[in-house]
């Protein structure tokens, strides 16, 4: 085949960017294409110098162009952010950089409906037009698969990075349940669990997200610490139920975020009251006013009181979050209200905390030199 620009470009269309789902020619990655006899040189302009698959791109390009009859192919990797070396070793890169706000959803104890709150908050944020992801970090009892009715496995790439599964409402989800069968128990000791969480945090290709909700495992332990240490959280939501025993643990959850410098957006009181499906009357099954007391004593706002509604409660089991299935229910309205509070509070945190370094990694020698 004759070596000309058109032939080469059309052959290079075979190289796909797995993130962007487009080929490298369409993406305008191929530039400065020069043909001298049977020698071909061109640049691959990547979107980021840290592109984890840049070497694969390069190898693919070279073998394709050689297949067209070129004797020598030279590919220079560059990026919009400047020229990059052909470093064979990839630094540990995290895809969290493309996420604007990471929000932890936690509870002091299990069984308060934390995952239900996470799923519905995510859906409410997504309905408002935001790009939303969920990291189900409850590795011992992952439930996001069930909540969204996901039966797909996430795509795992050669470089061990993971593409999240796109669920209802365009929400990107990665959950432990996608890796271990739902019937199997995750029996791991702390270090193993922490390692898995770190892998989830750094190796998932979230793409650009406005909000990434991290569904914490219940309690205040090893994994919770790993999470708060490894990702720069913009804020946290703590879920509780009205009983005194849940509130006691809720305080522990608040204290945990406090000690690691993550500001708490607010408390969501789940199962606040029961709405009878026969007569519509509100029944306070548990004690009233628990969430308010927490809010008052700890200075964190109560951002929503979610009722118990039988029809809505079934949504979780049916794989459709209540906000999507019954948008006019009181529960859905409460979730939308909570999502609204999250959005507004985070933007307040952002402006109040202005000037504070959140996420940095400096080489000492590159720090600016100053006097005290």
């Amino acid at each position: 085949m004759q070596l000309n620009e058109q032939n080469i470009l059309s052959a290079l269309k075979a190289v796909q960017d797995p993130d962007l789902h487009k080929d490298i020619v369409e993406l305008n990655f191929v530039q400065n294409l020069k043909i001298e006899g049977t020698k071909v040189t061109f640049d691959l302009v990547l979107t980021t110098p840290a592109c984890p698959i840049r070497d694969r791109f390069k190898d693919q390009c070279i073998s394709i162009v050689k297949g067209l009859g070129a004797s020598e192919v030279e590919v220079t990797l560059t990026s919009n952010a400047g020229r990059v070396g052909d470093a064979p070793e990839q630094p540990q890169v995290s895809f969290l950089g493309e996420v604007s706000h990471i929000v932890g959803v936690a509870s002091g104890k299990g069984g308060v409906g934390k995952s239900t709150v996470t799923a519905n908050l995510a859906m409410a944020l997504s309905l408002s037009g935001a790009r939303v992801g969920i990291l189900d970090a409850d590795i011992y009892g992952p439930s996001m698969g069930l909540m969204f009715g996901i039966d797909k496995d996430p795509q795992v790439f050669e470089d061990n990075t993971i593409a999240p599964v796109e669920a209802k409402g365009g929400i990107s989800i990665v959950s432990m349940c996608m890796f271990a069968g739902s019937e199997k128990a995750t029996i791991w000791r702390g270090p193993m669990a922490s390692q898995m969480i770190q892998h989830f945090l750094n190796r998932v290709r979230w793409g650009k997200l406005d909000y990434l909700l991290v569904d914490f495992p219940p309690g205040t332990g090893d994994i919770q610490l790993t999470l708060t240490q490894n990702c720069p959280m913009a804020g946290a939501v703590v879920v509780t139920t009205p009983q005194e025993v849940a509130l006691a643990d809720c305080r522990k959850g608040l204290a945990m975020f406090d000690s690691v410098g993550v500001p708490v957006v607010g408390v969501v009181e789940n199962m606040s009251y029961f709405i009878c499906d026969g007569c519509g009357k509100h029944h306070n099954i548990f004690r009233q006013g628990g969430g308010e007391r927490i809010a008052k004593n700890w200075g964190v706002p109560l951002i929503a009181k979610i009722p118990l509604e039988p029809a809505v409660a079934d949504c979780g089991d049916e794989g459709v979050p209540a906000v999507l299935r019954y948008p006019n229910s009181e529960s859905a309205k409460a979730f939308l209200q909570a999502a609204d509070a999250v959005v507004r509070t985070l933007s307040v945190f952002k402006s109040v905390g202005d000037g504070v370094l959140k996420n940095f990694n400096y080489a000492f020698d590159e720090l600016p030199e100053e006097d005290v």
Binding site: T228, Q229, F360, L367, E369
Partner: protein, 98 residues
């Protein structure tokens, strides 16, 4: 909560912070290394210091400064030690003394 607004170094190789309360402070790499709170340097249960000060070179340097979550910085030293997580309130104390 105390958090850094700026990280810098001084001419003589000290690490400096500008904090969100408006104060600034510096601390030498050796002092920071000697104050490492990690489990290799301090006994986790008794709090007893395990690190032998004389084993730390006088000319030890800092290599990297990295945020850990929202509450601490991880420091990497030229002796290869990098397991210390220094909460900002501790760093604030250390840089005050210097």
């Amino acid at each position: 909560m105390i958090q850094p607004k700026k990280v810098f170094r001084t001419k003589d190789g000290k690490l400096g912070f500008e904090w969100n309360d408006g104060t600034r402070g510096v601390c030498s790499a050796r002092e920071l290394r000697l104050a490492c709170p990690c489990a290799l340097c301090v006994d986790e249960h008794t709090g007893e210091k395990l690190l032998d000060n004389s084993a730390v070179p006088d000319d030890i340097k800092l290599e990297r400064v990295q945020s850990i979550g929202r509450y601490a910085a991880g420091l990497s030293f030229s002796d290869g030690h990098r397991s210390g997580i220094y909460p900002y309130d501790k760093l604030k104390e250390l840089t005050k003394n210097a």
